[in-house]
């Protein structure tokens, strides 16, 4: 009898203790809740895409009757879908830049060509020094994100001075206008003019495809190495979209 009472009391204590532990545990979890989230964020940013793509193991199994009953296990959120049909995916033509006007240095409607990459990995530039190249793989001037890049040769031994010959004379506040293939025009305001040694040219930043919208005008400058027939520096003009 006494033994039975004791046992019942012990069971009662056990249940009480378990509930207490649960309550304390819940409190502790709430207090600690921020910490794991922070750690997660930190470790994620520290290794973005750093791990090589591992080989997943495809384990398709035939449909059968042994499907487990549905439970409330963690699952991905519901997602948007889109058509993957070839005709829907092939990119539409966005307007591209066709001419440049910079009144401050006498550039009036100089033609712009879409250009890509030279075999050596540098940006392609029109051989005609009166023409400007637009890096077609990056954003077009006026796109909401990233850096649109226009370059032209500063000069050439036989053709003489190029369209960007006086680029170094630009000052912050000067206006740059880009005419587009759809007939519209986009206006930018110069905010920075810099001469940078070619070996230090921050190509990753100048050609970035995300981040704030801007226009970069690039040509050569500084000393000329007559043995390699190249200038030592790049002249970079950065402009922001006019409001």
């Amino acid at each position: 009898m006494l033994g039975a009472v004791l046992t019942h009391r012990m069971i009662a204590w056990t249940i009480t203790a378990a509930i207490l532990a649960a309550v304390i545990g819940a409190g502790a979890t709430m207090l600690l809740a921020d910490t794991p989230v922070e750690l997660t964020a930190a470790s994620d940013t520290a290794t973005p895409q750093a791990t090589p793509a591992p080989t997943p193991t495809p384990t398709p199994t035939p449909a059968d009757d042994t499907a487990e009953p549905r439970t409330a296990t963690p699952s991905p959120p519901k997602v948007d879908t889109k058509s993957a049909l070839l005709d829907d995916v092939n990119a539409e033509q966005e307007p591209s830049p066709t001419q440049l006007r910079v009144d401050a240095i006498g550039i009036s409607d100089s033609p712009i060509d879409a250009v890509g990459i030279e075999p050596d990995g540098s940006m392609e530039i029109p051989t005609d020094v009166s023409r400007i190249g637009w890096y077609e793989y990056g954003p077009a001037p006026g796109e909401p994100e990233g850096s649109a890049v226009l370059t032209a040769h500063i000069d050439n031994r036989t053709q003489g001075k190029g369209v960007f010959y006086d680029l170094d004379a630009l000052d912050p506040g000067d206006v740059v206008e880009v005419g587009m293939s759809d007939g519209t025009s986009r206006t930018f305001v110069v905010h920075e003019v810099r001469q940078i040694p070619k070996v230090e040219l921050p190509t990753g930043k100048l050609f970035r495809r995300d981040g704030p919208a801007r226009l970069a005008l690039i040509t050569c400058g500084g000393e000329f190495d007559s043995s390699s027939r190249h200038y030592r520096d790049n002249l970079v003009v950065l402009a922001k979209p006019a409001d």
């Binding site: 378990a18 991905p76 990995g121 010959y165 495809r209």
Partner: protein
């Protein structure tokens, strides 16, 4: 009795802390591709309805998910998952940093199946594009013709080829292995710079439902190595002249002074 008490407390603590401990710190990206013509489906992931009325020829946006093993069941749209049989079941191991495509497709014999393909997201040289071609159609081995030429040969159902090439548009077609008579295409496929364009051959040769689906993964670009925008040296020469001008004036002045002094001396000596 005491040990039982401790054990119960331990269980209570484990239950409470389990959700926090399960929060994974690493994620991967998953894109689901529906390559089975004619079947609108519901997709259940770990037992939850995740894609409702998922139509053939569509793909999801990339889903960022914690690394884990995911069980998937594909039902006919509107089916009761507790009563009806799934069309396909399968599972995928997602590892941190991985980018995978989970593809519902027909195997070589025309049976619905789920495949998990790892997508190549390594960086591309400036100016280059990547093309991935996956044979996910109910058809025997095929050759991929680019511009009419057999370029990737003897691709079996479930196989893929990956190649990096200069960005641009290719004319692609699919022919049975060893032949050049297209069963799909030819079709123009845009290979954008810095993008992995993944082309799926889907459908069934027997049912006449062969088609191409396209998934793209962008942001694999790298910047050009530099800008070589001057070959003449005129600007440098001009600047050099400008820099030399003061010296030239100074030298000329000295010369003039010297000449002047000489003349003066000559005049004086004549006296």
């Amino acid at each position: 009795m005491r040990t039982r008490l401790i054990a119960l407390m331990a269980i209570a603590l484990m239950v409470v802390f389990a959700p926090a401990a399960m929060a994974s710190s690493h994620t991967g990206l998953v894109t689901v591709v529906h390559g089975i013509p004619g079947a609108t489906v519901d997709v259940y992931v770990n037992g939850d309805l995740t894609l409702e009325d998922f139509e053939p020829g569509t793909i999801t946006d990339p889903l960022e998910l914690p690394e884990d093993t995911y069980d998937m069941e594909v039902f006919e749209a509107g089916a009761d998952p507790d009563a009806d049989d799934p069309i396909i079941t399968g599972s995928a191991d997602l590892t941190a940093g991985a980018n995978v495509s989970v593809v519902a497709y027909l195997d070589a014999d025309g049976a619905p199946t789920l495949g998990v393909f790892a997508n190549d997201t390594s960086k591309l040289k400036a100016g280059d594009a990547r093309v991935t071609i996956r044979h996910t159609a109910a058809a025997p081995a095929v050759d991929i013709l680019v511009g009419g030429e057999p370029t990737f040969t003897d691709l079996a159902n479930g196989d893929e080829v990956v190649a990096d090439l200069p960005a641009g548009t290719i004319e692609a077609a699919v022919a049975l292995a060893g032949t050049t008579d297209p069963v799909i295409g030819p079709a123009d496929v845009d290979l954008a710079e810095g993008v992995n364009t993944i082309v799926y051959a889907i459908g069934s040769a027997e049912d006449g439902t062969l088609d191409l689906l396209v998934q793209t993964i962008s942001g694999l670009h790298e910047a050009p190595t530099g800008v070589e925008s001057g070959l003449g040296g005129l600007k440098a020469a001009e600047q050099q002249r400008a820099a030399q001008l003061p010296w030239a004036i100074a030298l000329a002045s000295i010369a003039l002074l010297g000449a002047g002094a000489g003349v003066r001396r000559a005049v004086l000596s004549r006296r």
